[in-house]
Symmetry: C2
Subunit: 208 residues, 2 copies
């Protein structure tokens, strides 16, 4: 199947059957997420990868009563940095210098481009870092489809409750979206056989 | 090459060589963007696909002085709905009913879930629709890599100027990101041979 075929195959799976996704498939999906581009390359977020059943029960009861939380193989939480700090920028610049074998001074201009971001407040910073997580979410969705692993992106949860359960605020993080990975329970999911609804090309694209 | 290999091959191309991307590749990248999931499936955005050279010159001069705007084969502008309207929700619900051959009444519950969104103001609505465009951007980036087409995601432009040039505000749209499609000019792009910098797995993922 081509990527297009696989994107047509996938859908926002509402019921999963509990089957575990093979580790090498999970690893490739996570690697795609890791490789996803972000603004300035900063990757101002973390992805919490949850298999633990007790923790998933807690999330189900306290933050997101969707059955996939318990029926999925893995629950991924995309959590963005609330504040972009100078320390984080410095670490990133050091990473570039090391990876590319460059003197730090050669990156002074690039480093300076973060001044406005670091000067911003939490609301501004989180607005920006949260958007970046959606690029990784999109790449992760494509990678899951490529692996023929079902994946459900979710915004329908209490971020406040999820942050508390995972202790995210203490780590300068706020949850933005959830992606469950697993396999569809086609017999119990009415959406499994429902035709996909998307805008027509004519309605989505404006050609100039 | 696997998708992972292709994601390693791609990079935020700074210089492109003007070569046109074959139409069937552009079509597949756009189809992937069209198939990208969004919250509630609403797809509250449009993608402006620009080939016209005069328009690209105008964008370069007025909104985004990055050479890829002129050197790319196609310039895609992701523009999100400023306001989510009841009319738009009704159209979408009608689309579902038609596509899935369901009575409209069967969708009353789902339709009701949009009440809070429609009641929101422009700032709230645009904050939400803008995020959704990044999922499509991520899927589009993966699809471009799959096609071995270079792609550069950009936030570094004047949204106000770009909106004015494209007449977006009058269409209830605001530009969020730009994705240029084309082919790298490796000889003139210092980034073409630079090792990719990404957080380590240990630094990006928290396993639970």
């Amino acid at each position: 199947m081509s990527l297009i075929d696989k994107l047509n195959w996938r859908y926002a799976t509402k019921r999963m059957n509990g089957t575990k996704v093979p580790q090498e498939k999970v690893d490739r999906i996570l690697e795609a997420i890791r490789l996803a581009p972000t603004s300035f390359g900063l990757q101002g977020f973390k992805v919490i990868v949850i298999e633990d059943e007790a923790l998933r029960e807690q999330i189900f009861n306290g933050a997101c009563q969707q059955p996939q939380i318990k029926e999925a193989s893995h629950v991924l939480v995309f959590a963005a940095n609330k504040k972009v700090t100078q320390e984080q920028v410095n670490e990133y610049i050091q990473d570039i210098a090391t990876t590319r074998n460059m003197p730090l001074e050669a990156l002074d201009g690039f480093k300076g481009m973060f001044a406005g971001v670091v000067a911003g407040d939490e609301q501004q910073n989180f607005g920006w870092t949260a958007r970046q997580t959606y690029i990784a979410l999109g790449v992760g969705l494509a990678a899951a489809a490529e692996e023929e692993v079902d994946a459900t992106p979710m915004e329908g949860f209490s971020a406040e409750a999820l942050d508390a359960i995972l202790g995210l605020a203490e780590q300068n993080l706020g949850s933005v979206s959830v992606l469950t990975l697993g396999y569809r329970d086609a017999a119990n999911d009415y959406l499994a056989s429902a035709p996909k609804v998307r805008k027509s090309k004519e309605n989505l694209f404006i050609l100039k």
